[in-house]
Structure formats: C-alpha cells, structure tokens
Symmetry: C2
Subunit: 220 residues, 2 copies
C-alpha cells in the first residue's frame, strides 16, 4: 500500500508551513517514496477514533503495510531505516542518526519552543529577566551545535541525513526571531538544508491545502 | 567490550536519582547486559574532549564495540533493538516502541519540565495565571496518556517495554508535585513500572556514587 500521512485541512497562519507532517512529507520526498495525505479537521484530531491512530490527537500520524505509527521523529526514523537517501544503512551510522534526531527533539526543540512561546505579561522588568533566562538556555544549546558542526556541512556521516532534516525543521522555527543572528554557522547550515528540492516539494503542498481551505472572508 | 556509560560524580540533591544515565542503567539491567560506569565531574562535561562523546556536554554518553553514542533515548532504543526483554523484536513492534520512546521525550517531557521549572516571580495574580497555563498544557498530555492506557497495564505490546521505561522516567519527575494526583491510572502505571527489580538496581548505584562524592561539610 501507498503510505498515508495525516495532515490538517487548515491551521492559523502562524502555524502554516510549520505543522509537523512537514517532516514526514520531507522524508518521503527525499526517499522518493510516493504517499497519500489524509486530511483531517483540527476538531476531528481530538476524537476517540483518531486517537487510536495518534494518541495525543495531533498530526502527523502514518500508516503503511506494517501498520499504524505516530510521532514525527519515529516516522522519519522508520523511513530512514529503509532509505539510503536519509541515512547510511550500516547499524553504527543508523544509531548515530537516531541520536541526532532525538537530540533535535529533546535537547533543542523544547528550548526553541520556550523561547518562541515566551509570554510577556506586561511587567517590563520581570519579563526582561524571564526572557533573558529562556534565551540563555537556548543559547547554550545553539552554541553546542555550532561547536559540534565546526566546519562540517552536516551533523554526521559527512552528508545530509535524517538528522539534518529533523534539526533543520527545529531550527527553522526560529527564523522569524533574532535567535539565530549570533550564529552564522547555524544560519548557513539551515540554508543548506532548506535549499534541497525535497524540502520545497514538502512545504508547498502543505501550504496549498491551507490556501484551499482558508476560512471564507466575511462579506463587508 | 563491556559497554561504558558516563555519569556524574555528584549533582545537587534535587537532581540526585533523576540524572538521565538512570535510563540507560535501567535498560541495561532489564536486558541483563553488564556495563561499566565512567564517572565525570560536572565541569569536565563541558570540556571539548567530552563534547566529542556528548555534543551537549551532558550525561549519559555511551560506548560499546559499535562506537560512541549519546542521548538517553537513542541509547535505550539501541539496547532495546538487541534485547527481547525491552521490546518484541519484530519490526512492526519495534517501531511502535520507538514512537512511544519519542512521545515520552517530545510530547510529554517538555511539558513536565515546564511545569516543574515554573518560576514564581512574586506577582501573585500573574504567577497564578502562568502556573495555570503550564499546568493545563501538561494536563492535556496526561489525559491523553490516561485515555490511551485505559485498562492496559503497559503502553504497547501487552507487556513492559522500553516505551514504559522511558515514560516512567518522565512521569517520575512529577512525583514530588501534585500533578499526578488527578490521575490514579498514571500513578498506578508508574508504581507498576518502578516496582521492577531492574529499576531499583539502576537507581541505587547512581545514589551511592553521590553519597561517596558528597561535598565535605564545613567544619563548624
């Protein structure tokens, strides 16, 4: 069977282009595996029927001949386990790619999210102090990445892999902020990953669905 | 070679018993794989030499005959890929265990951490509002777990697996708080996981090292 990936019919503009089915679409594009998108409405994702596919009521969920799967990281790793385009297939390389995929999700993304979701509550002095805190813990992680990359183009294996796919989708969340400004190494790394044709082929269809399902503007 | 796991010589009391080498120790205990602990000081973890082993300057890092590895999730998955005790070894089961390990790390732990690290800045009304926000997003994730578990004892495969090992180490971080009080299903699940002899065999040696390396009390 052709793999199925769940995606939302529509999300608010701030999330458009960042919904995590993008990661799975990108992995499938790099691997050259055809797939079908199963569109669901935001409300439908919370229903019991969908939660048997995705326990947290989110996208993406995935299904192929081996059964149902969830978590974008697990789906990308599953595709990478069958695709030389996403990872060298020797066990030692594959487990290092797994380490970097999980590092993107657990050692970097939570700090990116806290930085982006920082809530200024109106008290200038206290907000400034808390903002400085979320930024400094993010900086520690970004500096670690800069140190690791050094002059390397990619995180591991001397080539683009699923590790870079996942890390790029995480760092890309920062593009609307100034968080990457002090780190030209990371900006160049991100540009390098996002310049791939597979990325564009994954982003455009997600955006197209949102354009097609945009709420009708009120008649003035 | 016998696998090597890095661990700290000492951490402040609040972190004792929660440092993430615990996850790897537990996995190795369940799998019945002998291992050696490589102790490092907190400061040593930030040095360039150690960062070649663990790019973020943290523990655990891991080494075996296949090479170096980092990220507790990746190390546990690597051990589970070789141990029936941690996961059924058919590919369909293994990828579902991977999904749950990543769910623990990316769909649950960030919300647990934000709940625990909530910083009351002294403004009662605003702090109450922000505390309610971090608690409500955590509750959404905990309710999803309750719904998924239903009357099951474990997350998948009808038995204890690496998925439960990882989720239990995440939920266990909440034990000093009241966050699990509304969820007897999760408290019972956590108790079930932590009652395993393999857990005790992993926790005690971590605590013993900290006792042996406790800073000397000042002479009064």
């Amino acid at each position: 069977m052709i793999p199925i990936v769940s995606a939302y019919t529509w999300v608010p503009p701030i999330a458009q282009g960042f919904v995590k089915d993008l990661r799975v679409r990108w992995a499938l594009e790099e691997a050259g595996i055809p797939y079908r998108i199963k569109l669901i409405a935001l409300g439908e994702a919370k229903a019991p029927a969908y939660r048997r596919w995705q326990p947290f009521g989110q996208v993406p969920a995935y299904e192929d001949e081996a059964g149902m799967l969830f978590e974008s990281g697990a789906i990308v790793l599953d595709i990478a386990a069958r695709s030389e385009a996403l990872a060298p297939q020797d066990p030692a390389s594959r487990r290092r790619i797994t380490a970097w995929v999980i590092a993107a999700l657990n050692s970097v993304e939570p700090f990116v999210q806290n930085y982006l979701r920082f809530d200024d509550d109106g008290d200038a002095a206290k907000s400034a102090k808390r903002r400085q805190q979320v930024q400094s813990v993010l900086d520690i992680r970004l500096e670690s990445l800069v140190n690791w990359l050094g002059t390397q183009d990619y995180l591991d294996a001397g080539r683009f892999t699923a590790a870079d796919l996942m890390m790029a989708t995480v760092l890309r969340e920062l593009m609307g902020s100034s968080a990457l400004d002090p780190y030209p190494t990371l900006s160049a790394y991100l540009d390098r990953c996002l310049a791939r044709p597979g990325f564009t082929r994954s982003l455009e269809p997600q955006l197209q669905v949102f354009r097609e399902h945009a709420p009708t503007a009120a008649v003035s």
